[in-house]
Assembly symmetry: C2
C-alpha cells in the first residue's frame, strides 16, 4: 500500500511535478486544460498530499497547539470542542496538551509543541503568574493567543469573557427580583476570573445595599469551598449568595439543602460559567454563560491574523460579553411562595 506521490501524478498526467503542485495548491495560474488533466490523474490515483513533506518545505504544519490546565475541569470540554471545530474548519489540526494544572508540566508541554513545529499556540494558562515565563518565551517563537485566562498584561493576544459585564448582569437580575442583602463567595487567586469577578461585585453590589460590598468571603474555585463558605455567610442573613463560579455555587446549594435552607425561597444562589452541572443542580443554577463558541472563533481569528503575516501589530485583547441564564436558583420569592410546600421548581413540573 505504497502512497501515491506528486511524482506519479505528474507522470500520469504528462506534466512536471511543479505543475501538479501548482494545480493542487493553487499558488500559480495553470492552463485550465492542464489543470483538468492533473486533477483527473490525482483523483484516479487517489493522490493525497503528504502534509509532512509539505510542512518541511513550506515551514508550516497547519497544526495548532492547544495547551490547557486540565481537560477534566468542567468548563474546558466545550471550549476544546469549539476550538477544535473552528480550527478544523480552517484546515488546521489541534495538538492537545494537558498540563495537569501544573506550571512545570505546562512549560514541558509547550516546549514539546514548539519542537513539533506547531504554527501557533492557543494557551489557557495554568496560573496567572507561574505560567508567564513559559508563555512569553513561546510567544517569542510563534503566534500565541491566550484563551479564557490572562497571564499578566501585554504578554500576548488574548480572548476572554468579560467578567465585569457578567457580574453586572447577575447583580442587575438580583436587584430586579427584589434581592438586597447580597453577599459574595469568591476565590482569592490572582487570576482574572477571581480578581475581576470580585471587583465587579464590589463595584456593583453597593447599589443593592451599602453594606453588600463588604460581605465577601474568599477561598478557591471548588465545591468544597462553596460548602464551607455557606456557614461563613449565613450569619449575615443574606437573601442572595453570588458565587464566583458554578462549582462554588453548586457546593453552596448542597450545603444549603443540607441545612434545610429554601433556595430560592429564602436565599437565591448564582454561579458563573454555565458548566453542564449548573443545569442539573437542584434547584437548577442561575449563572452566567460564557460565549464559548465565540471565544473559540475569536481565538481562531486572532491566530489567523498573526499567521497571515501581521506578526507585529499591537497586542490585541478581546473581551466578549457573556449571557445571563436565569434558572430556578434565583426565582423571585413571590413565585416560589406559590409552591412553598414542595422542594421542586416550576420547570421541573413540565
Amino acid at each position: 500500500m505504497t502512497d501515491v506521490t506528486l511524482r506519479e501524478v505528474a507522470r500520469a498526467s504528462g506534466c512536471s511535478i511543479a505543475t501538479v503542485s501548482r494545480v493542487l495548491t493553487g499558488t500559480r495560474p495553470v492552463r485550465p486544460e492542464t489543470a483538468r488533466k492533473v486533477r483527473e490523474a490525482a483523483e484516479s490515483l487517489g493522490y493525497r498530499p503528504n502534509r509532512v513533506a509539505r510542512a518541511l518545505r513550506s515551514r508550516s504544519t497547519g497544526t495548532i497547539g492547544l495547551v490547557l490546565p486540565q481537560i477534566t475541569n468542567p468548563f474546558f470540554p466545550s471550549l476544546v470542542r469549539e476550538v477544535e471545530h473552528a480550527l478544523h474548519a480552517e484546515g488546521r489540526a489541534v495538538l492537545l496538551a494537558d498540563c495537569d494544572d501544573d506550571p512545570k508540566t505546562e512549560t514541558d508541554r509547550i516546549t514539546t509543541l514548539l519542537d513539533r513545529q506547531v504554527d501557533a499556540l492557543l494557551v489557557i494558562p495554568v496560573d496567572e503568574r507561574h505560567s508567564r515565563d513559559a508563555v512569553e518565551t513561546a510567544a517569542a517563537q510563534v503566534p500565541l493567543v491566550l484563551l479564557d485566562r490572562g497571564c499578566g498584561p501585554g504578554v500576548a493576544d488574548s480572548v476572554a469573557t468579560d467578567n465585569t459585564t457578567g457580574m453586572a448582569l447577575v447583580l442587575d437580575h438580583l436587584a430586579a427580583t427584589g434581592r438586597r442583602r447580597v453577599c459574595f463567595v469568591g476565590a482569592s487567586g490572582t487570576g482574572s476570573a477571581a480578581v475581576e469577578r470580585l471587583a465587579a461585585y464590589e463595584a456593583g453590589a453597593g447599589a443593592l445595599d451599602p453594606r453588600a460590598p463588604e460581605r465577601v468571603e474568599l477561598g478557591d474555585f471548588s465545591l468544597e469551598w462553596g460548602r464551607a463558605a455557606v456557614d461563613r455567610v449565613l450569619p449575615s442573613r443574606p437573601d442572595a449568595i453570588v458565587c464566583a463560579n458554578d462549582l462554588i455555587a453548586v457546593g453552596a446549594l448542597q450545603r444549603l439543602r443540607q441545612l434545610g435552607v429554601d433556595v430560592p425561597g429564602e436565599i437565591a444562589v448564582t454561579g458563573f460559567d454555565d458548566i453542564p452541572m449548573a443545569d442539573l443542580a437542584d434547584p437548577a443554577l442561575t449563572t452566567v454563560r460564557q460565549p464559548v463558541r465565540e471565544l473559540a472563533a475569536e481565538a481562531a481569528r486572532l491566530l489567523g491574523r498573526r499567521l497571515a503575516g501581521q506578526q507585529d501589530g499591537p497586542r490585541q485583547s478581546v473581551r466578549l460579553a457573556p449571557e445571563l441564564v436565569v434558572r430556578a436558583s434565583s426565582a423571585p420569592r413571590a413565585a416560589s411562595a406559590q409552591d412553598a410546600d414542595s422542594t421542586h421548581t416550576p420547570e421541573e413540573d413540565q
Copy 2:
C-alpha cells in the same frame, strides 16, 4: 531567531552531521569523547531537532490521532487526559479530533489525521455500525486501537471496560444489601455498553428475583430518559433501579426526588461509569468506575506493540475489570432508617 540545525551543531563540534544525528538519536555507537563534544555543542547552541524533517525522513511523526465522538460527553475528559499523559510519557503527541457524534464527521476527521501522517489512531467510535467502514479503512493504513467502545468483531485491537463484570458487581452489592425487586433502565442501542450491560443484568438479576430479568426498560443514555423511565418502572414497585449509565441514573434520581420517593430508603439507584456528576448527585450515586487510567495505559501499550513492528499479530481485545463505588444512593435500608427524618445522607454530615 533562526533555528539551529544539525549542520551547525556538526560544524561547532567538528564532526559530520551524521555523527551528530547518531549521538542525538542513539541509533549507532559513537565514541564517548565525540558524543560528549556533540552534546556540548548541541547544548550550547540550543539545538532542538526539527521533528518535521525527522518525520519526513524516518516516516514516523511520533503523533497519534485521538478520535472521539464528543469531548463534552462527561465520561471522555478523564479518558482523554489519561491518554494524553500515557502517550506523552512515550514521547508521542496527540492530535485531537472531535466528531460531533456524527459518523460523517468521524470519517472526515480520520481522513484528515491520516493525511497528517499520524503513526497510529486511537478511536472511540461514534457508532458500532456506522463507524465500521471508516475504522476498517483506517486500520488498513495504520495501527488502530479501539477504545472504550467496540465496532463489530475483529475490526481492530480494542480496549474496553468489562461491562459484564461491572454489572455483576452492582447486582452482588444490591443482593448483599437486601434488595430483591430490582429493575433495569438501559439503552436500546447496539453499542457494547448498551448490549453487554443489559445482557449482564438479565443474566444476573434472576438470582435476586426470578421476575427481575423481565423488568427492563430501554431508551437511550440520557438524563431525560432516566427521568422518563422512572414513571415506567415505578408501577412494578422496585426496591432498586439499576441504570445502564450515570446520566440515566442521575435523571432517575431527579425524578424520584420530584416524586418524593426516598432514595435509598425506598429505592436504591445505581449507575455506571462514575462520571464527575455521580459524586455530586444527591444522594451521591453508587456506580461502577471504569478503570480510566488502565484503559489508557493498555491502549498505549497495544499501539506501541503494533508500532514496534508486530504489525500482523492476531487482533487483541482487552477487557479491564471495573470497580464498584458504593455511595449513598444504595445505602442499606436499615441505615437509612436511622435518619429517615432528614433527606441527607450520612456522608454529608461530616
